[in-house]
């Protein structure tokens, strides 16, 4: 009995010791842990990058930690930081990194950048670099400088004899084009405002656009309006200005007045990206990240066009960056991987997968990104948009504000809520969130 008890005690002690050991030991020999999320095609792109790095640098190891989505990544990052075992690196959009930057979770990189013989900040698009500066410090390094664009099914345009979108096309052009391309199963133009019970429903919808702030913002800016009262220290949404109201009204009308975007039931049944992929959506407003998925299309030709214009061409920045955690155990090894991923070679590898518009200026202008043999043929659209893109606020509560506004805008587009009510609800409900937020 005593022997057994002693054995159990010894085993417990051993487990406790080894348990502690794994939590506080040396980092030597441990792989660099990189936390990312994305669609399977995007994750494959990161695996390609990591594989290339490990082959190029003998002895370097990078472990990819794959979160299922953005929210899962945020939860994993927060809990791992709280638990004292954060990943060395994580990849995050500038819209969501504010809450971590405000809490000093992210390691400033200025000293490492200054000492680097590989990275020169001047090689990168300033708008993307600037989005990841917090209180004057460069916290993360942007891997891409994407923006919103209109993907379109060229084959459908040709079939129905509709002119393809060109640079400088207007919002009215988009509505006209989408109306001409919303067709029933006989190929006839149809107004898809009646979702259920109609004799015929659209087999092809003219356009797909998510009812979110990030989709609405460039339209408001293009019309001369603003999304928030102060981009650096926002305190409220300003969709009550005439310019913003018009842009929002027009977005809602795509569903409520023209019926050219799928209904909420249709979106739930098949999301816009799948709908485009299956040839049932003529145009889709989305960022560059959809490209990897769309390159699997074999049944039709597709391309990309710039956003339609109100008064001036304005885009919205979509940028993700590599960030190092303050609590990283392998900071030097993590930095070496960052240098590789951000360097020409790493940027070429990711660009070749179609996932990103490289933030490295030279790489973005190379065949790695503008490869004429790979769709979209008109990738130049993304580069032309770079001088016009603006960033959304990086206030620490922005994820909450986006989630809140998504629900309200979704009801506006699909349920047809009154515009005044929508704007008022967005304003009153988001004010406390802005008040709670921290700005860099």
């Amino acid at each position: 009995m005593r022997i057994r008890a002693l054995s159990a005690l010894a085993l417990s002690a051993l487990l406790a010791v080894t348990g502690c050991g794994s939590g506080s030991g040396s980092s030597a020999g441990e792989p660099v842990k990189l936390l990312v999320f994305g669609a399977p095609e995007e994750l494959a792109a990161y695996r390609t990058l990591v594989g290339a790095y490990q082959r190029a640098r003998d002895g370097e190891q990078v472990q990819l930690i794959e979160a299922s989505d953005r929210k899962d990544l945020l939860a994993r990052l927060a809990t791992s930081v709280a638990g004292g075992a954060p990943p060395d690196l994580f990849l995050m959009n500038y819209r969501f990194y504010g809450q971590f930057a405000a809490k000093a979770v992210v390691e400033p990189l200025d000293e490492r950048i200054a000492a680097s013989s590989v990275l020169d900040p001047a090689d990168y698009y300033p708008v993307a670099m600037e989005a990841f500066r917090w209180d004057g410090a460069q916290l993360c390094l942007p891997q891409n400088v994407s923006s919103l664009a209109v993907y379109y099914n060229r084959t459908l345009f040709t079939t129905y004899g509709v002119p393809e979108p060109t640079t400088g096309w207007t919002w009215n052009d988009l509505v006209t084009t989408a109306t001409l391309l919303t067709r029933d199963d006989r190929g006839l133009v149809i107004k898809g405002t009646e979702a259920e019970g109609a004799a015929r429903l659209p087999a092809v919808h003219g356009v797909g656009v998510e009812p979110s702030i990030i989709r609405l913002a460039p339209l408001v800016w293009s019309n001369g309006g603003e999304i928030v009262d102060d981009p650096d220290r926002p305190t409220r949404l300003t969709l009550d200005s005439p310019a913003a109201r018009e842009a929002l009204r027009n977005l809602i009308d795509l569903r409520q007045a023209y019926g050219v975007v799928p209904s909420d039931a249709e979106v739930e049944a098949e999301d816009d990206e799948s709908r485009f992929l299956n040839g049932r959506l003529a145009m889709l407003m989305t960022s560059r990240r959809a490209t990897t998925n769309f390159r699997t299309i074999t049944d039709f030709e597709w391309d990309v066009a710039p956003l339609p214009v109100y008064r001036e061409q304005v885009g919205v920045l979509h940028s993700d960056a590599y960030c190092m955690t303050r609590g990283a155990r392998n900071k030097d090894a993590a930095w070496r991987f960052m240098e590789y991923a951000m360097g020409q070679q790493g940027q070429r590898i990711i660009a070749a997968t179609g996932r990103t518009v490289p933030s490295h200026i030279q790489v973005s202008r190379s065949a790695a990104f503008l490869d004429p043999n790979q769709p979209p043929r008109n990738s130049q659209v993304f580069l032309d948009a770079v001088p016009t893109v603006r960033a959304l606020p990086t206030v620490s509560t922005w994820p909450e504000i986006e989630d809140l506004s998504y629900g309200i805008l979704e009801n506006a587009v699909h349920r047809g809520d009154r515009l005044d009510d929508v704007i008022r609800e967005l304003d009153t409900k988001s004010r406390p969130l802005f008040a709670r937020g921290e700005n860099g």
Binding site: A75, A104, A198, A265, P399
Partner: protein, 310 residues
């Protein structure tokens, strides 16, 4: 005499030691995984804590903020309504199936397996399965409802339920999902029914009692303690088992927060928005709600026992 008295005493001491030894793993688990986290949650609920920086004292601010938070109020209401509707339905369904399937008959074994099977499916897989079943256009449920109808309508000329886009249908969908996972309750009630004495039923048959009389005066009173226990357990669990369906199938929507239950609210507030102190306060409210539900049911059971002199 003394040697005769010391032997049972030794046996008692030994059995007590064995009892303590056997209970120790459970107690360690209970303390380490339930009581300590509950106390930590209690502590955090009076702090402003974001998981990333040290907590700061907030007093009752979190609770004051919760009382003014419209999303929390919706989540609280959704959870209470879910418990009030789903728990009686789940227990009634399990009882009905147990009474139907307690006899030996052809096909009963298969039917019992079918009733239990959904409980064995992992929660995420179960959620994904329902995501397909609820698909408004291509899902089998709405396809079936459209049989005999025209232009996407049912045979009665009505729009089939918009499970994922209409708030009421979505709430009904979550309750529907929960009904099929009453397998454990069903098994316990099946065992309880099979354990009831046969002679009572034989006497009832001799006295020409109707089926309803037998159910009301024999089966229900005899099974009442088990039913009460299961109802309490289900009420407590109902605050938890809304999480995966709301997280996987409806994502708390359709807007505005139609299927955001307390469990999802706590998860989103704590882990997505990093308001851990605030989430802890909401968790505490959830615990108090559980205690209140148990207390109310306990009082009802006591009244029932007094009435039947059980």
């Amino acid at each position: 005499m003394s040697s005769g008295g010391s032997a049972p005493a030794r046996t008692d001491a030994r059995s007590r030691r064995q009892l303590v030894l056997m209970l120790t793993p459970y107690l360690v688990g209970l303390v380490g995984l339930v009581l300590v986290p509950a106390l930590v949650t209690l502590g955090m609920s009076v702090t402003d804590y974001d998981l990333l920086t040290p907590p700061t004292w907030a007093g009752l601010d979190n609770f004051a903020a919760l009382s003014n938070d419209p999303i929390f109020r919706v989540a609280l209401l959704n959870s209470v309504v879910f418990a009030l509707v789903a728990v009686p339905l789940r227990v009634s369904l399990a009882l009905g199936l147990a009474l139907l399937l307690h006899r030996r008959a052809p096909g009963v074994g298969t039917a019992r397996t079918a009733a239990l099977l959904p409980t064995a499916v992992p929660e995420i897989a179960y959620g994904l399965l329902w995501l397909w079943l609820f698909n408004p256009l291509y899902g089998p449920i709405n396809q079936l409802l459209r049989v005999g109808g025209e232009n996407g309508l049912t045979a009665l000329g009505r729009t089939p339920p918009q499970w994922l886009t209409d708030p009421t249908s979505a709430r009904a969908g979550i309750i529907l999902m929960s009904l099929f996972t009453m397998g454990e309750t069903f098994v316990v009630l099946l065992a309880a029914r099979r354990a009831l004495p046969r002679d009572v039923y034989e006497m009832a048959a001799i006295e020409d009692a109707t089926g309803w009389d037998v159910f009301r005066r024999i089966t229900l009173p005899l099974m009442a303690p088990v039913l009460a226990l299961l109802a309490v357990r289900d009420a407590v669990a109902s605050l938890h088992f809304t999480f995966v369906p709301a997280f996987v199938v409806t994502d708390g929507g359709p807007p505005p927060y139609a299927t955001t239950y307390l469990s999802l609210f706590v998860y989103q507030t704590g882990f997505e928005y990093l308001r851990y102190g605030y989430a802890a306060a909401a968790t505490l409210v959830m615990m108090l709600l559980t205690v209140a539900a148990v207390f109310v049911q306990w009082r009802l059971i006591r009244r029932y026992r007094r009435f039947y002199r059980v």
